[in-house]
């Protein structure tokens, strides 16, 4: 079934991400792990795309506003056929096409460049508005972190989306509870996200961000609700990666090939368990 296929894809994206980071020796592992499932669902079931034509005008757009998690996006793009997965092993290397933070001028399939938190929301809104003005039925998806919601620009953008009823815009919140310096609750907490987005005029939906079926259901509702939507994903920073999920500060870690291979074996083992 669909969710099972997507769960398998998420596992592949997770392994590709971990191995790419191990090739570099380090990476923003925590936040990359928490978006593997949603990337698998977006590229595998929700978005209208053609990996052979990354510049296809009628495609849906994705903006990974939490741009430091580029490696997970690159793994998803490679998995779904935008480029050879072997390229993933050049992550962050001198002259690479795969820099830590997303760069639309370098990587096939990256729609917009990000790296300064909050800015991806506005970029996605502009793309959504432009598609609507052109009469295209394309949608724009923007993935933000829950720490990133501390940036004021996010809320400027959300208000803009609601006022213009940009129903082809979906904001995906990777609510992994943590940011660089620790827990969002301790640093500057976001309070009730569902009520906040609702109060700003968006359709606010919640989903289990570790469950592809739950994510698919919420993204489908978001697409069909006739309003701009925020889909809040309950995730864990580092999820699904055994060496990261047990570490409280896993925003950025040094990663050896031994760690990576052990994590990949564990991912395969868990996937087999789920499928049994």
């Amino acid at each position: 079934m669909e969710a099972d296929r997507l769960t398998g894809a998420a596992a592949e994206i997770r392994k590709l991400t971990i191995r790419a980071m191990a090739a570099a020796g380090y990476g923003h592992i925590g936040g990359s792990m928490s978006v593997c499932e949603v990337l698998a669902v977006l590229y595998g079931a929700v978005m209208r795309i053609d990996p052979a034509r990354p510049d296809w005008e009628e495609r849906d757009r994705l903006v990974l506003s939490k741009g430091h998690c580029g490696p997970a996006l690159y793994a998803a793009l490679a998995h779904y056929g935008y480029f050879d997965p072997a390229l993933l092993l050049t992550l962050n290397a001198n002259g690479t096409l795969l820099p830590s933070h997303c760069d639309r001028l370098k990587t096939p399939g990256v729609d917009l460049s990000t790296g300064s938190l909050g800015q991806g929301v506005s970029l996605g809104l502009g793309a959504a508005l432009g598609c609507r003005m052109k009469g295209l039925s394309s949608r724009a998806y923007v993935i933000v972190g829950d720490g990133e919601l501390q940036e004021g620009q996010v809320w400027e953008g959300v208000q803009f989306a609601a006022h213009r009823n940009l129903d082809n815009f979906t904001l995906v919140v990777d609510a992994n509870k943590r940011q660089l310096d620790g827990y969002v609750e301790d640093i500057c907490r976001g309070f009730d996200l569902e009520r906040k987005f609702g109060a700003f005029g968006l359709a606010a939906l919640e989903a289990d961000g570790q469950d592809c079926g739950s994510i698919l259901e919420a993204l489908t509702k978001a697409k069909e609700c006739g309003r701009p939507a925020a889909v809040i994903l309950d995730t864990e920073k580092g999820q699904g990666c055994c060496f990261a999920e047990t570490v409280p500060f896993n925003h950025y870690m040094n990663i050896s090939s031994e760690m990576a291979e052990e994590a990949c074996r564990e991912i395969d083992r868990k996937l087999a368990e789920v499928r049994r």
Partner: protein, 319 residues
């Protein structure tokens, strides 16, 4: 270049701007006008009436507006975003940098009320560093017209030239320097007057002041060349070098801080290519303040008399 000097324009700059933008929108169906609650100040209502489907008033949110402009550009639109110059530059700088120029998009940012033309809005609204910060962004073209004849030309070329631009000007009536229908080339300085004793390189409202200064100096037997450097970036280095070779002394004049803007750009060229005595007329280590334009120009040393004094200092240093 013929010169209709010393006459005030009959039309406000913002009206000339909006006419030019409507014309650009007629020629190119992808041209979009954007405001941040600045439509009334900027006088863009005629665009909203002519092309309501391509007019976007975002509300008071410069950061989001610049990002939305970048997103629109990513699907093929050519947004012209209007804001108070102070906020178009300072407040949304990271967005201009990263959401626009860094990813090679096609966004035109217009900062109104350049320098002392912000007059009674005072220091908070007086952009004296906008050209400086924008000049630091790779690929960003920085332009300031001398008058209302040049402005429509710049707008047309901004619409036709792919890439990020920062355009600054004062919204009210300016003195006329050029005749209607004259031609300009981006990146090419215009020599408005010949002279061998010194050359004044100016932009914006100080082009006219420089022409007045040149007349004052002629009465004292000093003949100065005047160059309109409407494209502050990329600056016309060849024209600066040629003026330095011919005159041996240069004065810059800008309605801006002397750090980062035209004075800096000219100093960089002279330092690298042909060092000669240089005097910079502009605001020096001050914030803006409230007042009439005449008062502020005197206060900050931007008048024709100040420029003439700077020329004399430069000539003395050369001799």
């Amino acid at each position: 270049m013929s010169a209709l000097r010393y006459e005030q324009d009959t039309i406000e700059m913002r009206a000339r701007y909006c006419d030019a933008l409507v014309e650009a929108a007629r020629e190119n169906p992808r041209v979009v006008a954007m405001d941040v609650d600045t439509s009334a100040s900027m006088g863009t209502a005629p665009f909203y009436a002519a092309y309501p489907e391509r007019a976007i008033n975002c509300g008071i949110m410069e950061a989001n507006a610049v990002g939305v402009a970048a997103g629109l550009s990513s699907v093929g639109y050519v947004p012209f975003l209007h804001a108070f110059g102070a906020f178009a530059s300072r407040r949304a700088y990271d967005q201009a940098f990263l959401s626009c120029a860094y990813q090679n998009l096609n966004v035109k940012i217009i900062g109104m009320d350049a320098g002392v033309t912000a007059t009674v809005n005072g220091g908070t609204h007086m952009p004296l560093e906008d050209m400086g910060v924008m000049r630091c962004i790779p690929g960003m073209t920085v332009v300031e017209p001398a008058d209302g004849a040049m402005l429509p030309y710049l707008v047309r070329h901004m619409a036709q030239t792919y890439g990020c631009f920062y355009l600054r000007f004062g919204r009210k009536k300016l003195m006329r320097v050029y005749g209607d229908g004259e031609d300009f080339t981006l990146g090419r300085a215009i020599k408005l007057r010949d002279g061998r004793d010194a050359a004044i390189v100016a932009c914006g409202i100080l082009v006219h002041e420089s022409l007045v200064a040149a007349e004052l100096l002629r009465q004292e037997g000093i003949e100065v060349a005047v160059l309109d450097m409407h494209t502050v970036k990329p600056v016309d280095a060849d024209a600066i070098e040629a003026a330095a070779r011919l005159c041996g002394a240069i004065v810059t004049a800008e309605n801006h801080n002397v750090i980062g803007g035209l004075g800096s750009a000219v100093a960089e060229v002279l330092g690298e290519r042909r060092p000669v005595p240089l005097e910079r007329v502009g605001v020096k280590e001050s914030f803006g303040e409230i007042g009439t334009q005449d008062y502020l120009m005197k206060k900050f040393g931007l008048t024709a008399g100040d420029i003439a004094q700077a020329v004399k200092r430069a000539v003395r240093r050369r001799n």
